[in-house]
Symmetry: C2
Subunit: 412 residues, 2 copies
């Protein structure tokens, strides 16, 4: 009997932590939410919700919000009395998100609610070794953490990589445009920081899709693709509301689709991959931007008002490659990230015509192209999301592994 009772107790504790995490996720997604809405969303009674809210506040994860007059409280409020709300703590726990590109790294301190509190970036030179990139990223991490509120807990680090990341342990198996094979980049960054905090890695396009699905252009859309159009090109796929990962975590490598068997060699070793026709280097050549200034390509494209003729075939090739993507996954939304975003703004009709040229009619009819709802920050915010996942699984356990003196330790 003792065993059974203990079992039941442990199970109850598990259920309570699960409910705490779920409630916190709702607060995170909305930024602020009424208790009445939480009662309705979670199917728990008011006193249970009040208990969970109290515990999250004690843990320093959320705080009381005055009754909102807008949409908050619309759930089941008692007549005329708006329900009290819960919101994330601005000066509270945070994660560090890293968006590692081929040409630059962006690092941000991100709180619950997905707010970017601080950001820093640096150019990455070509042919830099992984440990040097790790050191550069660590310096950016120190910078953004130095501005964190004192004693605010660092919950974890999320890192986006332009390559194939093994789902089981986050090992970077291959990042063709960085020249990496089997790089344990998470461990490299932690070593450079001399810090032991949970670190998670993901593929850039996968994380872009995740963030856009949670709080960007893809909210409420179950079948969507996020395309990262940078030096390399990849797809993050949400299908039936779930991330498509594949057996090892490597699904969505559409940048290496066969595009032209007579095309140029790709960094991956194959010939004529799609990204050789539409990646940053091809775009830079078309706008006559110096090859060593690819990092400035976004600004160059943003300044263009009348697109040069040389960009047209690239826009058409983006569309024709997207046709393969749409034929393969049948999404209802394709979000064009990276350099594809300004290109789509400049040459929407060329991209759309290329797509229409090769997409099967039923799939074409039901798909929409869009720019990211999160601007250039989709991938960065996706990196924050994977760093927060353990927090929503179990806030108590996550706070136990958090680092409360990160600011002073990293300042050292």
């Amino acid at each position: 009997m003792t065993t059974r009772q203990r079992g039941a107790g442990t199970n109850q504790e598990g259920v309570r932590r699960h409910n705490l995490g779920t409630l916190l996720r709702h607060v995170h997604r909305t930024g602020e939410i009424s208790r009445a809405e939480l009662t309705s969303l979670m199917g728990l009674n008011r006193s249970t919700i009040a208990g969970l809210v109290g515990e999250l506040a004690e843990l320093g994860l959320t705080e009381h919000a005055d009754p909102a007059t807008g949409s908050a409280g619309a759930g089941r409020r008692t007549a005329g009395r708006p329900s009290a709300g819960v919101r994330v703590v601005d000066a509270g726990p945070y994660v560090v998100a890293v968006d590692l590109g081929v040409d630059r790294a962006v690092v941000a301190r991100v709180g619950l609610g997905g707010r970017i509190a601080e950001r820093a970036e640096a150019a990455i030179n070509e042919d830099t070794e992984a440990w040097q990139v790790g050191a550069a990223v660590a310096a950016l991490v120190r910078h953004v953490v130095s501005w964190a509120p004192e004693h605010a807990p660092l919950l974890g680090i999320g890192i986006s990589v332009p390559g194939l990341v093994r789902r089981t342990d986050g090992l970077v198996r291959q990042a063709p445009n960085l020249g990496w094979r089997d790089v344990s980049f998470g461990s490299i960054v932690l070593a450079a920081l001399d810090l032991d905090v949970p670190v998670r890695l993901g593929n850039d396009a996968d994380l872009g899709a995740l963030a856009e699905h949670h709080r960007g252009a893809g909210v409420g859309i179950d079948d969507l693709i996020y395309i990262s159009g940078n030096v390399g090109v990849g797809a993050g796929v949400i299908t039936g509301g779930v991330r498509l990962q594949g057996a090892g975590g490597y699904a969505g490598e559409v940048g290496h689709m066969n595009f032209d068997p007579r095309g140029p060699l790709c960094h991956c070793g194959s010939r004529g991959c799609w990204e050789t026709a539409v990646g940053a280097h091809a775009i830079a050549a078309a706008v006559k931007s110096p090859a060593d200034q690819v990092v400035r390509l976004g600004e160059v494209l943003d300044e263009i008002t009348a697109p040069p003729r040389e960009l047209r075939p690239i826009a058409a090739s983006i569309g024709r490659g997207l046709a393969d993507v749409v034929n393969s996954y049948n999404p209802s939304l394709v979000i064009l990230g990276g350099y594809f975003q300004p290109l789509f703004r400049l040459m929407r009709s060329e991209v759309t015509a290329g797509l229409a040229e090769r997409t099967m009619a039923p799939a074409l009819e039901s798909v929409r192209l869009a720019v990211p709802g999160l601007g250039a920050d989709s991938v960065l915010l996706g990196a924050a999301e994977i760093a927060l996942e353990p927090v929503f699984a179990d806030p108590v356990a996550s706070l136990a592994t958090a680092i409360t003196d990160a600011r002073s330790r990293l300042a050292g």
Copy 2:
């Protein structure tokens, strides 16, 4: 109180029917299973299992099996006393499965347990109208039903189509190689039969993947692709154990991937699709089989012992196209169906070399190519599976819509 009691009663009835269906699904998957194994698999006690087994027997869906001496009963049998078993009824309820190809239709009567009791096939001439194809299929259905045990209930019809089938209602939106657009083929077949019985439609490759996952080469494998290599080429995708359908049900149209921008025109209207390089017409040309004899291509390939040189580039193109498929979905198993099956047997090294040439290393390392475990019947058995799905959802309701005098009615 009356309302609440009725509600609870309805809910209990729903749970019971759900359990009935789940138990039936276990019997279907295994053919024969012990009560002890069912107790263990379903987490229900022995008397509940006994009650459900009794009800399924009364419904004529299963029957008692003598205690098996082999693997059956291994679950939780009492010492020395093998547990009594349950098996499907051979002369019991059945579905009709239709595998409609571009060049031929195969129709089978399939019982619970996935056993093909009777089959018939006919060639389909090119440029035949949908209603003529429907009439030909109906004739085959009459034939296989004429051999059914008298009064055995016809539960439903499942139809595989080489095209894009809308997931909501089974409308054939587009079947390029049949020249079909928006054809309600299920209704056409039912009208030709003058019968009203549940009918479900699916894409050929999707159904091949489903059947191979349930009882073929892909049992227990969560990330797999079935490639239908026929006149057209398509992929059925299982990812994370679930069918990848896409927003409308059109995912997996990999036959229309861009393969060679300077290649021949495809039936879909695009140029250089993968299926123009590797589909049945390209294979027939390579082995100098007359274009109007594509229906006999399987036999021709089966007779070849030393493959002619002309087949080599086709085998390499199969591999190179599969690379795009593997890069896109990252499966751990690719099952080569249709004409790809004999080609793979003849030229495994050429296919494998083409795959290796373009697949990203981490995805290549973890993928295996295989021939179907169900031979040429994967798609046909997948059509039976979708016809059986409503039976496993609710056996009682399904028997209520079944037709018990199908044999005499169709004989008329």
